[in-house]
């Protein structure tokens, strides 16, 4: 018998409860839609169909599926509600490749902003939530997916992804509504609300209910999922893969592309200092105390780009996709320790001297004086130095006269330079990733003699 069966009867029964939960959620949704009393004028010849009807059918379907699965006791091999292999293979190919993974995350990011008026509609958002839950549910029938998503470490991360989605939706739905009102000259949502809230009973009751629910959740969590303890630590045995805590997986992903000195010290410091600098850089007085997107497009897109694809996206990548030997694995792929990924990469100096000029790499003479060695090293790495210096010192003025012309005029020299450098440093991460994938470039400046690599 297969030691890792895709499906067991208990998994199917567990998923049954999940479908029942979805049915309950959709039952509420059906009632909500029914209460609005809206109708389709004509559907396939039938007149005057309530809009709640399709939701009622969907709910009934979910209920039946859930009810059947909860009482499932025949052979799991006969179970049909699972993903087709073709789909799994396709997803694996797309996700396990860093280029398509990041391309996909960028597509989603752009679509999220582009289609914000559409996907923040309650019905659309509800359908998207249903899709996400169904996807999770159907994917759970796969053994490898279940292993990685169901790991006690990772379950809360799955929950947090739904939270990130919810809060992003909340922001966009409020700002879309506000932007519409501002354009129409109507008062904003916040203007219509009272600025004061009663502490007693409103706030205190809300806090108490939150406290009770959270305590209940923590107790259930503590009982259901065991703390993921591993074997005693050993200096010679590093777990494979060796993962940082989830909130550091973005940094760990950066370390794949940068020297520890850069990814571990410089870039995290820049992130922190840059976040602290936002109030000093952001000269836009709008959006203060109310939700808006149109009035501060640049700052919100910049922030969300740094947060969603570069931070959350890399946490997802590190949590679910990185496997043994830090290779990328699709969500339905077996974690094969011997998966072979060709990652040979070379430094820019190697490319320049060996590949383009056909000369050997200038090698510092170990017997020469320090300054002679330094000269040789800088000659070896001159192209990388030139690129880095140009990136950090030539691009900002260039941006000031082209793309960011208006910003430069409004902000003044100092604030603009800080902004430009922060944006360039943020952009350095995806740029370096793209260079690694496209040209197998390891380091732009590579001076292992001095532990200095960029």
């Amino acid at each position: 018998m297969d030691p890792h069966p895709d499906l067991t009867a208990s998994v199917i029964r567990g998923l049954g409860w999940f479908y029942l939960l979805m049915a309950a959620m959709n039952a509420f949704w059906t009632i909500r839609v029914f209460k609005t009393g809206t109708y389709y004028e004509s559907v396939a010849g039938f007149k005057h169909i309530p809009k709640a009807a399709p939701w009622a059918i969907f709910t009934a379907l979910l209920f039946m599926v859930g009810a059947v699965q909860v009482r499932f006791d025949s052979d799991p091999a006969d179970f049909v509600l699972k993903l087709p292999v073709v789909f799994k293979d396709l997803v694996d190919v797309v996700i396990a490749n860093p280029i398509s993974y990041f391309a996909l995350s960028m597509v989603i990011f752009v679509a999220m902003i582009w289609l914000r008026r559409w996907w923040t509609k309650p019905t659309v958002a509800w359908i998207l939530l249903n899709f996400a839950m169904l996807f999770l549910c159907v994917s759970m029938t796969d053994y490898d997916f279940r292993q990685i998503v169901g790991k006690p470490d990772n379950v809360p991360i799955v929950g947090m992804l739904f939270l990130v989605g919810f809060f992003t939706w909340l922001y966009f739905s409020k700002s879309v509504e506000n932007d519409r009102r501002i354009a129409a000259g109507e008062p904003k949502i916040e203007d219509e609300q009272s600025e004061q809230v009663l502490v007693w009973p409103d706030l205190v009751y809300t806090e108490m209910i939150c406290m009770l629910l959270l305590t209940a959740l923590l107790i259930a969590w503590g009982i259901a999922l065991q703390a993921p303890l591993e074997e005693p630590a050993s200096a010679v045995k590093t777990p494979n893969p060796s993962k940082a805590p989830w909130y550091f997986l973005g940094l760990q992903e950066m370390l794949v592309y940068y020297d520890p000195w850069m990814a571990g010290v410089v870039l995290p410091s820049v992130i922190l200092v840059g976040l602290m600098a936002i109030p000093y850089i952001d000269f836009n007085p709008k959006g203060n105390g109310y939700y808006t997107f149109d009035e501060r497009k640049f700052s919100i897109i910049t922030f969300l780009f740094g947060f969603l694809p570069l931070w959350v996206g890399m946490i997802v990548l590190g949590t679910f996709i990185r496997g043994p030997n830090w290779n990328m694995f699709g969500p339905y792929e077996y974690w094969d320790v011997h998966k072979l990924e060709v990652l040979n990469n070379i430094d820019l100096s190697q490319m320049f001297w060996v590949d383009w000029l056909g000369k050997p790499l200038p090698k510092p003479d170990p017997n020469a004086s320090f300054w002679m060695q330094a000269g040789t090293i800088i000659l070896r790495e001159w192209l990388g130095f030139a690129l880095i210096l140009g990136y950090l010192f030539l691009l900002p003025p260039l941006l000031a006269v082209t793309v960011f012309r208006k910003f430069f005029i409004k902000m003044g020299f100092l604030r603009f330079m800080v902004l430009a450098n922060l944006i360039l440093l943020m952009g350095a991460l995806p740029l370096k990733m793209a260079l690694r994938w496209a040209f197998t470039l390891k380091y732009i400046v590579s001076i292992p003699e001095w532990f200095f690599n960029i």
């Binding site: 520890p260 030997n325 990652l343 292992p448």
Partner: protein, 336 residues
């Protein structure tokens, strides 16, 4: 009679016997005069003695009703006990009503006074103090130093005096079980345990680092084209025998520390590479980095053939390829 003080026990006994608050001692002049309801009469009392306690002053203050009268009235009042205070307080009810200042407060204070006085014995209750302060007698309060009633002779003490004929052992037990001594002994014991713990802390529970020089057996243990991982767990090195570095058959020892961030890579026999599980750095069998973020090759440590013919590794010296140190004869052993 007025000089005589009563202990709490005596007061209680009296209270049980008589059942009425005013006691023989409580028949103080203050009571009668206050009933006369004339605050101005208070100063007229002869100052027989100093006020004996805050309680006295407070009682007098109540009886007097005005701050001016209080200090002078108290010497005359001279109540020695709770009963006196109570009596005075009751008397003050009338006086308070007559007094121009805050008659309401006075009435309340009187109602509370008996309860509070009962609970605290012969000291004034907080309510009393507050009331006195409200009525403007703060100057009197700090001046008065409460004199504690004479300590009753406890039966235990008497027993101790009589026990001169008891054995040394019994003496010792009595001495040790006295709460004061027991506390000192407990503290001493805890201090001693703590001292032992500190002493133990000076000898940490650590593993002594193995010597940096150690023998790893003859060359024949490491056949050509292999990576031996048998010293990895214990000493953190791989012993490699290969001809891929410069065409010569070399035996060398690589430190099993990734040059990227210091994780321990694994030797993958099938792929013929060292692969780090943390960020995916890969190294050839020669130790040269070729994939992932590792910026430089793995480090070699010293190796030589010891006089007895076995290989000896010296981890105290390191050889880095990027510094041109792999040419050093101490970093490898060439097979014959």
């Amino acid at each position: 009679m007025a000089d005589k003080k009563l202990t709490t026990e005596e007061i209680l006994a009296l209270a049980r016997k008589g059942g009425v608050a005013p006691k023989p001692t409580a028949e103080s002049p203050a009571t009668e005069e206050s009933v006369g309801a004339s605050p101005s009469e208070a100063p007229a009392k002869p100052a027989a003695a100093k006020p004996s306690s805050t309680a006295d002053i407070l009682a007098a203050a109540r009886a007097g009703g005005t701050s001016a009268a209080a200090p002078k009235a108290s010497p005359a009042a001279k109540p020695g006990s709770t009963a006196d205070i109570l009596a005075a307080a009751r008397a003050g009810k009338a006086g308070g009503a007559a007094a121009p200042a805050k008659p309401q407060t006075g009435g309340e204070g009187v109602k509370k006074a008996p309860v509070a006085a009962k609970s605290v014995g012969d000291r004034p209750s907080v309510a009393d103090m507050v009331k006195a302060a409200r009525e403007g007698a703060p100057t009197a309060v700090p001046a008065a130093k409460p004199k504690l009633p004479a300590k009753p002779v406890l039966p235990g003490k008497k027993a101790a005096e009589e026990s001169t004929r008891r054995s040394f052992f019994a003496e010792a037990v009595t001495f040790v079980t006295e709460p004061f001594m027991a506390a000192w002994i407990a503290m001493g014991a805890i201090g001693a345990i703590w001292g032992l713990a500190v002493a133990r802390f000076m000898m940490p529970n650590m593993i002594v680092e193995p010597p940096t020089k150690f023998k790893i057996g003859p060359e024949s243990d490491y056949p050509p084209g292999t990576v031996s991982t048998k010293w990895k767990a214990e000493r953190g090195i791989w012993v490699v025998n290969t001809d891929q570095y410069n065409g010569k058959q070399l035996i060398y020892a690589l430190l099993s520390v990734c040059t990227h961030l210091g994780c321990t890579p694994n030797w993958l026999e099938g792929e013929q590479k060292f692969k780090c599980p943390c960020h995916g750095s890969g190294f050839y069998i020669t130790g040269i980095n070729f994939e992932g973020p590792a910026p430089r090759p793995l480090e070699r440590v010293g190796i030589r053939v010891a006089p007895d013919g076995s290989l000896e590794v010296d981890k105290s010296v390191k050889f880095q390829e990027e510094l041109g140190q792999w040419g050093d004869a101490a970093s490898f052993v060439e097979m014959a």
